[in-house]
């Protein structure tokens, strides 16, 4: 598999997750609308978005959720599992500008025989503003208990 497998022994509180850079375009928003079935016009119809007092078309919150999902499934790897994922849409993002997903390990613990890490995750815009903060709980494999 393509991504590097992380094991519980490899991570400490403060360990960084990502970054994962994305460069969403209007075309990607159209693809996402088609794949998800969310056809709200503010995501691909500029006139409609402007008439709704938006600066232009904006990213689907759920697409940013998907980007953060990729951040944590990449981190979990094939042997891990994303147990929880939370996102809050605090700010709008527009296509044509990069966004970066990042995260940090906040807690490391064992529960029901699983090695877990709680992570703070977020998506930031090109100015470094966290428009979409969130959190995740990931089960990681152990190098010893196999």
């Amino acid at each position: 598999m393509a991504t590097k497998q992380h094991y519980i022994e490899d991570v400490e509180i403060g360990s960084e997750i990502g970054p994962l850079e994305k460069n969403p375009t209007t075309q990607q928003l159209v693809k996402y609308a088609g794949a998800s079935g969310d056809f709200y016009q503010i995501h691909y119809d500029k006139d409609f978005a402007l008439a709704n007092k938006l600066p232009g078309v904006i990213l689907h919150g759920a697409l940013k959720n998907a980007f953060l999902g990729q951040l944590v499934t990449d981190f979990a790897g094939e042997l891990g599992w994303v147990r929880k994922l939370s996102v809050q849409y605090r700010g709008m993002d527009q296509p044509g500008s990069k966004v970066v997903c990042r995260g940090k390990v906040a807690k490391k613990y064992t529960e029901h025989g699983h090695h877990l890490v709680d992570c703070d995750i977020w998506l930031e815009n090109a100015k470094g503003e966290k428009t979409t903060p969130g959190s995740a709980t990931v089960i990681l494999p152990s190098r010893s208990a196999r």
């Binding site: 996402y32 998800s36 969310d38 929880k84």
Partner: protein, 151 residues
């Protein structure tokens, strides 16, 4: 201060459920979703490469569930005028089992919470839906709590 829109009477709607909708998960739908979000993880794209993993085949990415909508229960808020605008506040997901190609996923939403707070522009209403995704074996694969904001 008493709520203007989310009254005690309105809160009695909490627990209302919507209709169940069932989806059959197609390989092409997973691939198309992964492509749309730009995620090239072989687990979501490559059947052959996924066959040798512990999953034994392709699975869906964690937000693929967004492509399986279900009708939300009616929420009657007579105090909320038509000038109210809506936005997606966010989602809290829990994942218990993977979704595989060929799974039949039943989706149902339930009104989990109704709240009101006073914002800069007047009252803000928070409508929390909890959606449960259950596979053909009766296993809950995931739950999503999503918050819609009206202001």
């Amino acid at each position: 201060m008493a709520n203007k829109i989310v009254t005690d009477e309105a809160r009695k709607q909490i627990g209302r459920t919507g209709e169940i909708r069932t989806y059959e998960v197609e390989r092409g739908a997973i691939r198309r979703f992964a492509e749309a979000i730009g995620d090239s993880n072989p687990l979501f794209n490559d059947e052959l490469a996924s066959r040798n993993t512990r999953f034994g085949g392709m699975i869906a990415p964690p937000t693929f569930y967004r492509s399986m909508g279900s009708p939300i229960p009616n929420v009657d808020l007579p105090g909320m005028g038509s000038q109210f605008r809506g936005l997606d506040g966010g989602s809290d997901w829990e994942y218990f089992h993977p979704i595989r190609v060929g799974d039949r996923i039943s989706v149902q939403s339930r009104l989990a919470d109704l709240r009101e707070s006073e914002g800069r522009l007047g009252p803000m209403v928070f409508i929390v839906m909890e959606t449960t995704y259950t596979n053909q074996f009766g296993e809950v694969c995931a739950t999503q709590r999503s918050t819609a904001i009206r202001y």
